[in-house]
């Protein structure tokens, strides 16, 4: 089938890109370390500067793995929401879940003045979970998915306004810290904390794989899906839970990261051509990882002393994709 060979090509290309970008993340950074040295460090046979070993093993390696899982998590999360709400402009930030995480961190950082690692993570998780529970609660009462989307947006606005109030009254120092957290950052997860993040991300991703079948049915709308045997309310909750875990974990460990959840599902659809989640979900996962790894590398500007914030780079990749999709929507099959 000609479709299948196209799919295989996409898999192979993305897989290769992923491998390349992962290596890139280990080889490229603000400090110039020769390729050979990096390889020796990874193999454990390096005899040179200890700082290089520390840089590769304690900074670049966890950073790259974090970026991989964060990108995959956000992208899959976005895909789940776009299918559930039948809205191609839905993303993890739209339901207010990342705003909830943001609010949690704001409260702890600014109001309570706590800044330990654990407190930030917990705050983000709790904040995201609270919003998620609110959304799930509403989803039992609200039949229409569009209504749920609007509720999510409003909850997000509410969280944002509380954050504004906190910012307003906070000292410049605290605001600065908070703003820096809001820039998004893959470097904050050290090797010893990494397993926690990976567990949550992998859990969410695994859960989403089990949702492939009902997601496809949901493309037909909730009536058809119900007729095919889908327990629509339960599936909705399952989707929200998966999305919630993925978004909460990523926001907790990396801060809020924009655009990946929104744009990568579109990139995947454009590459594949089909909206069939059997291929779309894994490709979205891979593409999300690739985009995040790329953005992570782009934060370090070669030759400059300075670095760029992550959330300044993700729109550079994400926005053109969205604009392209909107402008060309007549010719794009999944829009019609």
């Amino acid at each position: 089938m000609k479709g299948r060979s196209k799919h295989i090509t996409v898999y192979i290309c993305l897989g290769a890109a992923l491998l390349l970008l992962f290596c890139g993340g280990l080889l490229y950074g603000a400090v110039r370390i020769p390729i050979r040295s990096v390889l020796e460090i990874l193999a454990g046979t390096f005899e040179g500067r200890q700082t290089w070993v520390q840089i590769v093993m304690q900074s670049r390696l966890p950073q790259t793995i974090t970026a991989l899982f964060a990108g995959a998590s956000l992208a899959v999360s976005g895909l789940l929401l776009q299918t559930l709400f039948k809205n191609p402009l839905a993303g993890p930030s739209i339901l207010g879940i990342s705003d909830g995480a943001y609010l949690g961190v704001a409260l702890v950082m600014i109001y309570f003045s706590f800044n330990t690692y654990l407190s930030t993570i917990l705050a983000a998780f709790v904040g995201a979970s609270v919003v998620l529970l609110i959304i799930i609660g509403f989803s039992r009462k609200v039949r229409n998915s569009v209504m749920l989307l609007i509720i999510g947006i409003m909850v997000g606005y509410l969280a944002s306004s509380i954050i504004s109030i906190l910012n307003y009254h906070a000292s410049p120092d605290k605001v600065h810290q908070f703003v820096l957290w809001g820039m998004g950052d893959f470097t904050g997860v050290s090797m010893e904390k990494l397993p926690w993040f990976v567990v949550f991300a992998a859990g969410g991703l695994l859960g989403s794989i089990f949702l492939i079948k009902p997601l496809n049915a949901l493309l037909l709308g909730e009536s058809y899906a119900a007729n095919l045997g889908v327990r629509v309310k339960r599936v909705r909750i399952a989707i929200l839970l998966c999305t919630g875990i993925l978004t909460a974990a990523t926001t907790a460990f990396c801060g809020p990261i924009s655009f990946i959840g929104l744009a990568v599902p579109h990139i995947a659809r454009l590459l594949l051509g089909t909206s069939n989640h059997k291929q779309l979900l894994p490709i979205t996962l891979l593409a999300g990882a690739c985009v995040a790894l790329l953005c992570n590398m782009l934060t370090v500007v070669p030759g400059s002393n300075s670095i760029l914030p992550l959330n300044a780079i993700t729109p550079i990749i994400g926005a053109p994709v969205i604009i392209y999709v909107i402008v060309n929507r007549r010719n794009i099959q999944y829009f019609n």
Binding site: Q54, I55, N115, Y168, H169, T187
Partner: protein
């Protein structure tokens, strides 16, 4: 830079021949004082475009009648008796020159550390004006304030306060890179309250003390290599060599590792760059303001790779809590004290028996 011009004595002193003498301003780059017969002109330079003037203030004695022809600028009748301060640091400066009675209102009283001011806030003699970004205009009117002293930000106005008709002094001292430069602004503020001479003598005392300490420190042969601040998010914000922080640490006799970063703007560096360059620093100093006190465990928990730095391994980290100490007030009023603190860390042999005010050794 003192210029003297002879005044025509006797008859024939016309309006055109005004006598002026420029005051020497030693460290501050942001303002100039020029004295005339009937007024004092203070030019505050634009800190973001140093060729331009941000404001010109014309200080005229209250007891003298207003001259017929006034120069351009914001007219302030001195000495000011009722002033409102957007920042507590400036209020502290005024307390230092003995004019606490002129302080009628302060913004953001939660940052006030001066006990005398706190006392007056408690019994209502000094009012709380609210947020510096959104001060309580009605209160300012109610206090019948003659003057507002505020910190300027680039391209931002003062909102409704501008329409009050009360002169606003744009206190750009925080943009000064030299520690003494910030302190020197007190001489300008003092003129507003008629305490010019007193402020001058306080300033000179501080300057002399500072320079004395600096000489002691720079005489010492060894200069410990010093790492500053921490990683926030993805970047380690490194103060530049020419900034306030860079200057004061160098003056304390340290070899600040990133002093080659020119200018005064901080640079965002990756963790790996800092690790590569500064992993074998002798000492590490940073500031924090969380409720809990930092320890080696907490620091390591925050980001495990911090433990690779030599100061971490050898337990040579010093920390300063910015709100529990009078750090922010003192960097403007008493840079010599901060210098002393730093010298006690970098060259402990110079100051024996000194107990640190700001930086303590981390546990």
């Amino acid at each position: 830079m003192a210029l003297l011009c002879s005044c025509n004595g006797g008859s024939g002193v016309t309006a055109e021949t005004e006598c002026f003498k420029a005051d020497s301003v030693y460290y501050a780059k942001g303002f100039e004082i020029s004295r005339f017969d009937d007024w004092i002109i203070v030019n505050v330079r634009n800190p973001w475009d140093t060729l331009k003037t941000l404001r010109r203030y014309v200080l005229i004695d209250k007891n003298k009648p207003l001259p017929d022809s006034l120069p351009e600028g914001i007219i302030i009748r001195t000495p000011v008796e009722k002033a409102v301060f957007y920042t507590s640091v400036h209020a502290s400066m005024v307390v230092q020159m003995g004019r606490i009675d002129a302080i009628k209102g302060i913004c953001e009283i939660q940052y006030v550390t001066d006990s005398l001011i706190l006392e007056r806030i408690a019994d209502g003699r000094i009012a709380d004006i609210g947020l510096a970004t959104a001060p309580n205009i009605e209160k300012i009117i109610e206090l019948d304030a003659e003057l507002i002293i505020a910190s300027p930000y680039e391209n931002s106005g003062y909102g409704a306060a501008e329409k009050l008709g009360i002169p606003i002094v744009e206190a750009a001292d925080y943009m000064e890179n030299h520690p003494l430069g910030r302190t020197e602004w007190g001489r300008f503020y003092a003129l507003l309250f008629g305490e010019g001479a007193r402020a001058d003598s306080i300033f000179f005392a501080t300057r002399d003390r500072y320079n004395h300490l600096k000489n002691l420190a720079t005489k010492s042969e060894k200069r410990p290599r010093v790492l500053l601040e921490r990683k926030y998010g993805a970047s380690w914000i490194i103060p530049a060599g020419g900034s306030y922080i860079g200057t004061i640490h160098s003056d304390a006799g340290a070899d600040y590792i990133f002093s080659d970063f020119k200018g005064s703007e901080s640079v965002h560096q990756t963790f790996e760059s800092v690790l590569d360059r500064a992993h074998d620093a002798d000492l590490w100093l940073f500031k924090y303001d969380t409720k809990h006190e930092y320890t080696y465990d907490i620091l390591k928990d925050e980001y495990q790779p911090y433990s690779n730095f030599r100061p971490f391994k050898e337990r040579n980290i010093y920390i300063c809590h910015t709100t529990k100490t009078t750090y922010y007030d003192d960097i403007t009023l008493h840079p010599d004290r901060l210098l002393e603190d730093l010298i006690s860390i970098y060259h402990p042999e110079i100051l024996s028996g000194y107990s640190p005010r700001y930086y303590v050794k981390m546990k």
